[in-house]
């Protein structure tokens, strides 16, 4: 059970209609080569809001990760971008082409790998690639076959004999083959073993380095964070965070987690730490100068962000806090992105 302690220093987004910065950028940016632009994209399924007005600009030359828990709206956004789901409102353009009608013109500029993996089991791997690459450039099938062979896929076999991971690789090969500037990949690494995932991410990284625009989604941060230069975190159909991987890494480096003997102690410590983070004065023992921020409690663990990378002054103060029992464990600078997002945005990444 994860609970967050109320904290005067918490900076979780209020959960309004997306991030104003993203909206401004989307409004300002004209459609252009390699750009994915979504302006105010909204979609409801009955009473459920799948996408609140969603604004984003994704630029070429880097991998952008679209991250969030299951049902957060990632796949709906991707489907709206390529015209598979019609947005109730908003505008989309990809590679300078506006999304109109059923999105055929946009889909010519982009490859899309769906997250849900259901293939035609009666087709062979090669036939399936030909099916997926219909209306693509003539050389695409050859390239896809080469990629599939690199993965070791038996293209002469019927797809019904493929494992889940092999099917995923087949779809990936088809998504990577067409000569287009933009690739949108939904849950592309899901179900792959670590070595295949690594191979796949290397290819995605190389694509981005070659100047292509890559938008990939995952509900598992640890699977894709190593290739993403930028991370968009989505929850309940809204963009709750848009940060560079470097900024996230810096925050991660300053993050500290302390395990206590019980949740009660963790809460007591959180209250002290929150007080320590107050603007003036603060807790006389833990000290305001460390500017402890983003304090949360998860079970018997208290997590927070320090003002600097050096934890030693804070640890010395913590040792002198006599009303708190000795911590069971202290972790610093090693938090996963998953934990970080859970702490900062109050949602589970996996």
């Amino acid at each position: 059970m994860t609970t967050a302690a109320p904290s005067p220093t918490a900076d979780r987004p209020a959960g309004g209609a997306g991030k104003p910065g993203a909206r401004d950028e989307a409004q300002r940016t004209p459609p252009g080569p390699g750009l994915i632009i979504a302006r105010g994209v909204t979609r409801r399924f009955g009473a459920k809001v799948a996408l609140a007005p969603f604004d984003v600009v994704v630029r070429p030359g880097a991998v952008t990760g679209l991250l969030g828990p299951n049902g957060s709206g990632k796949s709906t956004l991707m489907r709206c971008l390529v015209g598979l789901v019609r947005a109730d409102a908003g505008e989309v353009s990809i590679d300078g082409v506006p999304l109109v009608g059923d999105g055929t013109a946009v889909r010519r500029q982009v490859t899309y790998a769906p997250g849900e993996l259901h293939l035609y089991s009666e087709l062979t791997g090669r036939e399936h690639l030909a099916f997926l690459l219909r209306a693509r450039d003539r050389a695409a099938l050859g390239r896809a076959e080469a990629i599939a062979r690199d993965f070791g896929l038996p293209l002469e076999q019927r797809v019904r004999a493929y494992s889940h991971g092999m099917k995923r690789q087949l779809v990936f090969a088809a998504a990577l083959a067409p000569d287009v500037k933009v690739r949108i990949l939904d849950e592309i690494s899901e179900g792959l073993d670590p070595s295949k995932r690594s191979e796949l991410l290397d290819r995605i990284d190389a694509e981005a380095r070659a100047g292509r625009t890559i938008l990939l989604s995952s509900h598992h941060l640890g699977e894709v964070d190593r290739v993403c230069a930028r991370l968009l975190f989505v929850n309940a159909g809204r963009l709750v965070a848009d940060e560079s991987a470097a900024a996230i890494a810096l925050r991660s480096a300053r993050r500290m987690a302390v395990d206590w003997s019980s949740e009660e102690v963790a809460r007591r410590a959180a209250a002290r730490l929150a007080d320590a983070g107050a603007a003036t004065g603060g807790d006389p023992v833990l000290g305001a100068e460390h500017c402890v921020a983003e304090v949360y409690v998860h079970g018997a663990r208290t997590s927070f962000t320090l003002a600097s990378d050096d934890p030693r002054p804070f640890l010395a103060r913590l040792e002198s806090a006599r009303d708190l029992p000795p911590p069971r464990a202290i972790e610093h600078g090693r938090m996963s992105l998953n934990d970080l997002y859970r702490d900062l945005y109050g949602v589970e990444g996996t």
Binding site: F45, V85, D102, E122, F131, A135, R136
Partner: protein, 254 residues
């Protein structure tokens, strides 16, 4: 495309073979049937509609027997069943298998994808009727009988209009739904009900199959011309179902 072509070819060839075997067997037994038609009329006496059909065959001879066997029986049973089975899975089958996103995710317009399936399906629903009909003159040679090829083609076109209409209505539903089994069940039940109505003397004029029975086919043969009173509305149903399917499919969520 390859997958679709393969499926269409198997279906089309299969339907042609079944229809040809049915009419081949019927023609083979024609002499025996002609000899025993009086006894059969006694046997069919409790069912007035069956008696009427036997009367029509007795009066019309081998032509009435052929149109009854091939178009009324073969077309309205195997043909209709095949059209429903084929159309029900055309779009809803993709949703049911979970492959719709893959199918639609390519840079091909929805209108084109739907039209390929619609007109391809329409073709393989109707073509077997023509192909199997084209074999009838040769089959009639087995029993020293003959029938005009033009009459057979006219009857085939009429039969195809009905099969096309049933295919189109089922296809329209398929474009909007995700469960092909439900579509098949409801459409087959509807057709069985319509057939049951046809066999009831007082209800027969309200049955769908009244537009494609022995009497109607024999008029096509005897008058030597097409009857647009029946075919016109059936073609309108096909056109409206196609346009409706296009409209529904355009906004469909995979």
């Amino acid at each position: 495309m390859l997958r679709t072509l393969r499926g269409y070819t198997i279906y089309g060839v299969g339907l042609t073979i079944v229809l040809a075997l049915m009419i081949g067997g019927a023609i083979y037994w024609w002499p025996s049937f002609a000899e025993n038609v009086t006894k059969l009329k006694v046997f069919a006496a409790p069912m007035p509609m069956l008696g009427d059909m036997l009367n029509q065959i007795e009066q019309g001879g081998v032509s009435a027997y052929v149109v009854g066997q091939h178009y009324f029986k073969g077309g309205n049973t195997v043909g209709v069943g095949g059209a429903i089975l084929f159309a029900a899975g055309a779009i809803a089958g993709e949703a049911h298998r979970g492959t719709m996103e893959l199918w639609l995710g390519r840079p091909v317009s929805r209108a084109r994808l739907l039209s390929e399936r619609f007109f391809g399906g329409l073709l393989v629903t109707c073509l077997p009727v023509f192909v199997s009909s084209a074999l009838i003159p040769w089959m009639l040679g087995w029993v020293d009988e003959s029938m005009s090829f033009a009459d057979l083609m006219r009857c085939s076109a009429h039969c195809s209009a009905l099969l096309g209409a049933i295919f189109a209505v089922t296809f329209f539903w398929s474009a909007a739904a995700s469960d092909p089994m439900r579509i098949i069940f409801v459409m087959l039940m509807f057709c069985v009900f319509q057939f049951a109505m046809y066999m009831v003397k007082t209800a027969t004029d309200y049955s769908l199959f009244r537009v494609a029975d022995i009497e109607v086919y024999m008029e096509l043969v005897l008058r030597d011309r097409f009857d647009w009173r029946y075919v016109g509305p059936l073609l309108a149903v096909i056109a409206l179902s196609y346009l409706g399917a296009l409209r529904v499919f355009a906004r469909r969520v995979p």
